[in-house]
């Protein structure tokens, strides 16, 4: 029963990663990221029960605190400060194309891993599925970072990549130091976001303002910060 629940969560994680690529509203992106992190917490607890590794409970708790509550609150604060709602047409790849590329990515990762890990894990095991999904998530997050212009979307793509690495690490091996990794990456993102927050300008935002001004959607009082 537990392995089934873990399987369902894994597939849903992949779905959320695809939604991340194709969603255009920034608040949806943050919500998506929260759901992804919740699923990760569930997977970690499920694995902790199946594999009997109490360390994973700690990781699950840490993920819950930082990624489900902490980081999204921080990002929302920045969004309110910068007053952007939509990430329309700020990408080099339309959502449709991005989803097609994701399918290609998943296929590619599956084929590569089947060749490399076949000595270690059977094709049907939970671990194989977990590692394939982990690496696919990393690549899909990379797609988000590369093809979107707005900095906040890039940050969320990066966070999704980090989730993928965490997932991969959980499944492939036991890692005693993964906690430090998690803390470290969250710290990096915090620093990044603080910079964005305090300085508040980067060129994609300016482009965005110009575009909104063209449609008379950005009045001057709002624009002056």
């Amino acid at each position: 029963m537990m392995p089934d629940v873990v399987r369902i969560c894994l597939v849903l994680v992949l779905v959320s990663s695809a939604f991340l690529l194709s969603s255009r509203s920034l608040s949806n992106l943050v919500k998506n990221y929260q759901y992804q992190s919740v699923l990760l917490v569930l997977i970690a607890t499920g694995l902790a029960v199946i594999e009997d590794r109490p360390l994973l409970f700690l990781i699950a708790a840490l993920t819950l605190a930082s990624k489900v509550f902490g980081l999204p609150a921080f990002i929302r604060m920045i969004q309110e400060r910068m007053r952007i709602q939509q990430d329309i047409r700020f990408s080099y790849l339309h959502p449709t194309g991005a989803l097609m590329v994701s399918i290609g990515i998943i296929l590619l990762v599956y084929v590569c891993f089947a060749r490399i890990l076949h000595t270690l894990y059977a094709h049907n095991s939970l671990f194989f599925l977990g590692s394939v999904i982990g690496v696919s998530m990393v690549l899909m997050g990379l797609l988000a970072v590369c093809t979107r212009k707005m900095a906040i979307t890039k940050v969320i793509g990066y966070l999704s990549m980090e989730n993928g690495v965490l997932l991969f690490g959980l499944f492939v091996t036991e890692l005693p130091f993964i906690i430090e990794f998690v803390i470290m990456v969250d710290l990096i993102i915090l620093v990044l976001l603080t910079t964005l927050l305090t300085v508040g300008i980067d060129s994609s935002i300016e482009e965005y303002k110009v575009r909104l001004q063209k449609f008379h959607l950005w009045t001057e009082e709002e624009g002056a910060q």
Partner: protein
């Protein structure tokens, strides 16, 4: 135990810096920090008997060598910063409140780089390398112009996403070691011993993924896109540190990993991979140098070219190639730091907005004779003139390449010729430019503290270029064997 002095001093200085507000005290603390580190490193170099391995640090010839380079560059940069940052504050480019952040970040960067170089296992190395990325990005964006913020964000994104791939590689490596020995470990020494017993497929994938991250950190094409903007837009003291010290951290990681892979079955593929990337890097960098119009961008692309050349040395893999690659690292850092610091003086001189709205260099020898000469010396060194150290390392690596295939040195020499043409063309263009009478800027008297580091760096590079210091050859050979390449006596 001497190595413990590094973190202890670092923490003390950082705490002191938090309490200061005036520029003189902050910059003085920065200088003291780097000088202390230089001193500790000198002790480590001169007394190898004091090295002891403990849980927290690994001390061998390789990282002491790279640490030496790092501390020299940081010392020069912090001495230079006394005058340079002061000038920036006076002209209003930096807010007074950001001063404390700048110096704190600078010292923290030195601290973190040291910790990265001396870290005993790969995971800690990864964490500290990420921290260097973040801190240097912070330093770049201290001038809050939009272009700087863009450059800094691009830097963080490209390097951090590539480092995530590196982490995937680390996980693979851990699993490979765990499969062959039963208990996984990520310490450099353990992995070096056990690598040959692991499954080749996993080691290969681990190597490729690991390479991606640290290649991005060192500016290897195609992960180099952040380098030109970041190094060009940052304040010159920071550029010197970035080019001279931080790029070396990435190379250090690649060196160790290459050494690990050397004993396994995939050594040939790994070398081929490194060779391909090195050649592509050098070509792209050299051809980009031809079209640069700004001084600092030109120097930044030259950094990429030199990093590609060091990678070529690592690709060839013979002890001689590694020896000269390490030497090239030293020479390149010294020269590049000197160049960036001179460029900083020129920036302070020509900063007035001209008709075109950008820095326009003209009347160079009249206005800034010292900077002009050091710039000429730096360019000559980059081209590979015999008085300077890069001459020996280029010859050495090219001879090692010739043993593999004669076409590699031919191509590389062609690329070097093109790079030389680019540098000379640029220098001639700025040497010849003259302002019409009365339109030129007033001469900028650079404070003595800005000139001394440049002269020192140049003199030191000439010294190591002319002669081998006593014990230097054996030290470098020991470093090569520490990487994992067996050196035949």
């Amino acid at each position: 135990m001497i190595v413990m002095l590094y973190p202890v001093c670092g923490v003390i200085i950082l705490l002191l810096q938090l309490t200061q507000k005036k520029h003189q005290w902050l910059s003085l603390l920065g200088v003291i920090h780097s000088v202390l580190y230089l001193f500790i490193t000198a002790i480590l170099v001169l007394y190898p008997k004091t090295w002891d391995q403990n849980l927290f640090f690994i001390v061998d010839h390789l990282n002491v060598f790279v640490m030496l380079i790092t501390s020299i560059i940081f010392t020069s940069a912090s001495v230079y910063a006394v005058g340079y940052i002061g000038g920036l504050v006076k002209s209003g480019d930096i807010d007074k409140r950001s001063l404390r952040i700048f110096y704190f970040g600078f010292s923290l960067l030195l601290f973190v780089t040291t910790m990265a170089l001396f870290s005993p296992d790969i995971a800690l190395f990864w964490i500290f390398a990420e921290l260097t990325t973040v801190l240097s990005a912070l330093l770049i964006s201290i001038l809050t112009i939009r272009a700087n913020i863009d450059a800094s964000l691009k830097y963080i994104f490209i390097c951090s996403t590539s480092m995530l791939f590196s982490f995937l590689g680390i996980i693979f490596l851990f699993e490979a070691i765990r499969n062959s020995t039963g208990v996984g470990s990520l310490e450099w020494s353990v992995i070096l011993k056990e690598a040959s017993t692991c499954d080749s497929g996993m080691i290969w994938i681990a190597f490729v993924l690991f390479f991606i991250g640290f290649a991005a950190k060192s500016g290897i094409v195609p992960f180099h896109t952040w380098l030109a903007d970041a190094h060009a837009k940052a304040p010159s003291a920071v550029s010197a540190v970035l080019s001279g010290a931080i790029l070396n951290v990435g190379m250090y990681g690649i060196f160790r990993m290459t050494g690990i892979v050397h004993g396994t079955g995939v050594a040939y593929q790994a070398s081929l991979l490194l060779l391909v990337f090195a050649m592509i890097t050098m070509s792209v960098a050299v051809f980009s140098m031809l079209c640069q119009k700004k001084l600092k961008s030109l120097i930044a692309f030259s950094s990429i070219e030199n990093m590609g050349f060091i990678l070529l040395g690592a690709a060839i893999g013979t002890p001689m190639a590694f020896f000269w690659a390490l030497f090239h690292m030293l020479g390149h850092s010294l020269i590049k730091a000197g160049l960036f610091l001179s460029a900083g003086i020129l920036h302070r001189q020509y900063k007035i907005p001209t008709r075109t709205g950008e820095d326009e260099i003209g009347d160079l020898f009249r206005l800034q004779p010292v900077a002009a000469i050091t710039l000429m010396g730096g360019f000559a060194a980059l081209i590979g003139m015999p008085v300077f150290p890069l001459f020996f390392s280029k010859v050495g690596i090219l001879i090692a390449c010739a043993e593999v295939s004669i076409w590699i040195p031919v191509l590389v020499l062609l690329l070097f010729a093109i790079a030389a043409a680019a540098l000379i063309k640029f220098y001639l263009s700025i040497m010849a430019a003259e302002f019409p009478d009365g339109e030129g800027p007033a001469p900028y008297i650079a404070p003595v503290w800005m000139i001394i580091p440049i002269i020192t760096l140049l003199l030191f590079s000439v010294m190591i270029g002319i002669m081998m210091l006593p014990g230097e050859e054996s030290f470098l050979l020991a470093a090569v064997s520490d990487i994992g390449i067996r050196v035949n006596p």
